[in-house]
């Protein structure tokens, strides 16, 4: 399954600045609490974890539950203290795994 991720990280920041990061990934987040047209439960299929790393160090991570809306959208913050790469990883049911990167230049 292919998933499209949108990431918004500022291209540049001043050293020590707190930057806002927004991420969105396309995923239906099937709750596992709904019945399909055949009357059977639709099995759960959600993203369970999202992790943001900054030059290999974890700055932010979440555990998602079925109560997260489809196409999980998360806004969070990080201290920009060096030029480097943010790595974002989403993992979920049925072997779902997507990794994206974004670079930032710190002056």
């Amino acid at each position: 399954m292919s998933a499209r991720a949108l990431i918004n990280v500022p291209k540049q920041a001043k050293r020590g600045e707190v930057i806002e990061i927004k991420t969105l990934i396309s995923h239906q987040m099937e709750t596992g609490f709904r019945h399909g047209t055949n009357g059977r439960m639709i099995p759960r299929d959600i993203i369970t974890t999202f992790t943001a790393k900054y030059e290999g160090e974890e700055v932010f991570s979440t555990t998602f539950f079925p109560a997260i809306a489809a196409n999980p959208f998360v806004t969070f913050y990080a201290v920009a203290d060096k030029t480097g790469t943010f790595t974002f990883t989403w993992e979920g049911d049925n072997g779902f795994s997507v990794t994206e990167e974004a670079k930032i230049v710190v002056a």
Binding site: V59, F60, F65, P72, V74, F76, A78
Partner: protein
């Protein structure tokens, strides 16, 4: 003509009857499941009111996507920071909504996302600080169109 049912009256009565019949839901939440989920997540820690601001719209038209922001008053320094935020609901089939872990360089103890709400209910956000104390905020949300439980239409 003293007593007649107009078309309008009939429609109103019909609407009330339908609304009443639709109330029992499958997989409804068990009372107290929120408290149980909180204890399972944070253990026996005492939860105090304050420091946390849970921002949710008071009236939600569509429970499938409700914007939620949790902000915690904290300097977010190496020794005095928010380690985690957990959000719980009262009436969804599962009491957990989201758990967030902040690293030492998170900068600001704030997170925003979109959640699903199955019913008019209370939402509680609990922040766990680096010194082990827990702080919380609770909001009431009125939901007109519920999420999660609606079945696919044939």
């Amino acid at each position: 003509m003293r007593f007649s049912i107009t078309r309008r009256d009939a429609l109103i009565l019909g609407g009330i009857a339908v609304a009443g019949a639709a109330s029992p839901r499958p997989a409804a939440a068990v009372p107290g499941q929120m408290e149980a989920a909180i204890r399972k997540t944070i253990g026996d820690a005492k939860v105090q009111k304050g420091k946390v601001t849970l921002d949710l719209p008071p009236l939600v038209e569509n429970g499938n996507s409700v914007p939620m922001t949790v902000t915690v008053a904290s300097p977010m320094t190496e020794n005095d920071r928010v380690k985690a935020i957990h959000v719980f609901n009262e009436k969804n089939p599962q009491a957990n909504v989201i758990s967030v872990q902040f690293g030492p360089r998170a900068g600001k103890a704030e997170v925003a996302t979109r959640i699903r709400l199955a019913d008019t209910q209370k939402i509680t956000a609990i922040a766990v600080m680096s010194d082990g104390t827990c702080w919380s905020d609770t909001q009431d949300v009125v939901v007109t169109l519920a999420a999660c439980l609606e079945d696919l239409q044939p």
